[in-house]
Amino acid sequence: MARVPVAEGIFTWPSDDPQLVGSRCTDCGIVTFPSQQSCPRCASMSMAEHLLARRGRLWAFTTQSFPPPSPPYSGPSGKEFVPFGVGYVELGDVKVETHLTVADPDALQHGMEMELVVVPFRTDDDGNEVVTFAFRPC
């Protein structure tokens, strides 16, 4: 059984110290996640790959307490569904929206330090473990 990423190119994988893969505009310097081919600030087509910091601070958060509509959601649903946290983590040059490993709002605080982890998300039809990125308090 392999551990496969939920999508190619959004975090470095396989890796012991995975990093999110964004892009940076070589004209105006804005950083995006995931990478995109044109700049949302200056419309430049000159975007370079940019690896994001592994640590940052929690900027906003909530909980996802019900299974999201499927499709597009492909994770565990029905009785298998486990509520998860969602938030934005500020990584210095960009804020990234992400799953949080903690779903208890009392255990989360605006501004707390967070770090990137890669976590199991679901099992695909071939029996592979699909993994995604998340942030956990650190």
Binding site: V6, A7, I10, G22, I30, V31, T32, F33, P34, P40, R41, W59, A60, F61, T62, T63, Q64, S65, F66, P67, P68, P69, P71, P72, Y73, S74, G75, F84, V86, G87, Y88, E90, G92, D93, V94, K95, V96, E97, H99, P105, H110, F121, T132
Partner: protein, 382 residues
């Protein structure tokens, strides 16, 4: 403003669930009511703009109204659809294309949260696969951060929702007409912290129509014209905190509601202190609280005291969502903003009965907001 525009007729098909009735049929009923209100006939209408999410061609309503050959434009602009159809109808009069124009909205949604392919919103597929392409989660994050930054309590969220249901009881056209207490709202299932089930509106069904004309011809239709002083639509700028954003830049700016609101006040020559009755997009109770500040009715954080003092009640200093808002009416997307205009017009005419704002209100305000970061505002006055 180049030409004054008057609202001379408003009509509504109630909002709720109507098995066996199509969106088009509801649209036709709303049109007939708006025309009857204006004392006009369908053959008098020279231009039409109809908004819908579920109906590709709402102009098909002509099959039920009369095939008069008029220019008829279908509009979709997310939750701000009605602001767009209203703006376009007003502009068709300003341009001289029509003397009498109609804006229509109709929708018939299935229950439950909206869903779509994230790629249609310029988001990657994985964003939907992992369960982040969820509008309600955005509203949870936005109000949770706002409460932290500006000292708003959970109790205030529940009080605002409870006020919505209470006003819905007074509105025969509303979907939810049962009062819910602050305690019941707080005790309902948590959907996206801090927002519970009863703090959210639901997608539903309904239709609304608004008949507009050149202000100098309004006397032909009514003794009580209401003037459309401004109508604006704006989209998000880089740095606004918006729904369906896999990332945000470090730089921060205000949301499109603030931009649409400022432009509308300028266009109307009216300020927030002049407004007597307010309709805001309350997709959830938190949105109503944030939108009060975004539209200039208070400073960030003042909502806590205003709600405690009853300022948002029908008899308060800032009567807000007097017909129950989206919380009590639900959201048929294409029609929602015209329902707000319908309510404001009835309030300014003094026709709202049990939910009439006292003291002869003279200026009304409506605001819409939705994915992927679009807002609309209108200001009306007698």
């Amino acid at each position: 403003m180049s030409m004054d525009i008057a609202v001379v007729g408003v009509g509504l098909h109630p909002f709720g669930r109507f098995p066996g009735v199509s969106a088009i049929e509801m649209g036709a009923i709303a049109i007939r009511r708006a025309l009857a209100d204006a004392g006009a006939e369908w053959r008098d209408v020279q231009a039409a703009f109809a908004g819908s999410y579920e109906v590709d061609n709402p102009d098909a309503v002509v099959a039920l109204m009369g095939l008069t050959g008029i220019p008829f434009t279908n509009v979709y602009n997310g939750c701000a659809t009605a602001a767009s159809s209203l703006t376009m109808a007003a502009n068709s009069i300003r341009l001289g294309d029509a003397d009498l124009a109609i804006a229509i909205g109709m929708d018939k949604h299935l229950p439950g949260a909206f869903s779509a392919d994230p790629r249609l919103y310029a988001c990657p597929s994985w964003y939907g696969e992992v369960g982040q392409f969820v509008t309600t989660k955005f509203f949870g994050m936005k109000i949770n951060k706002y409460m932290h930054d500006h000292g708003i309590s959970h109790s205030t969220l529940a009080k605002v929702a409870s006020k919505g249901y209470r006003n819905g009881v007074l509105n025969p056209n509303a979907f939810r007409r049962k009062p819910l207490s602050e305690e019941e709202i707080l005790a309902s299932p948590m959907l996206n912290y801090p927002l519970t089930q009863y703090m959210f509106c639901s997608p539903d069904e309904g239709a609304a129509a608004v008949v507009l004309c050149r202000a100098d011809q309004a006397h032909r239709y009514t003794d009580t014209p209401v003037y459309l002083r401004a109508t604006t639509v704006r989209t998000r700028r880089l740095g606004a905190f918006e729904v369906h954003s896999p990332w945000l830049p470090i730089e921060e700016t205000v949301g499109p509601t603030v931009d649409a609101s400022r432009a509308a006040y300028e266009m109307a020559g009216i300020g927030p202190n002049d407004v007597d009755v307010i309709q805001l997009q309350d997709t959830d109770a938190g949105a109503e609280i944030i939108h009060l500040a975004e539209n200039g009715f208070c400073a960030d954080g003042e909502q806590e005291q205003l709600v405690a003092d009853g300022a948002l009640e029908i008899g308060g200093s800032l009567p807000t969502n007097t017909d129950g808002g989206l919380i009590a009416n639900g959201e048929p997307i294409g029609a929602s903003g015209l329902r707000q205009v319908h309510e404001v017009v009835l309030q300014l005419r003094g026709q709202c009965g049990d939910r009439q704002v006292p003291g002869n209100p003279k200026v009304g305000y409506t605001q819409l907001y939705g994915a992927p970061g679009t807002a609309g505002v209108s200001i009306l006055s007698v």
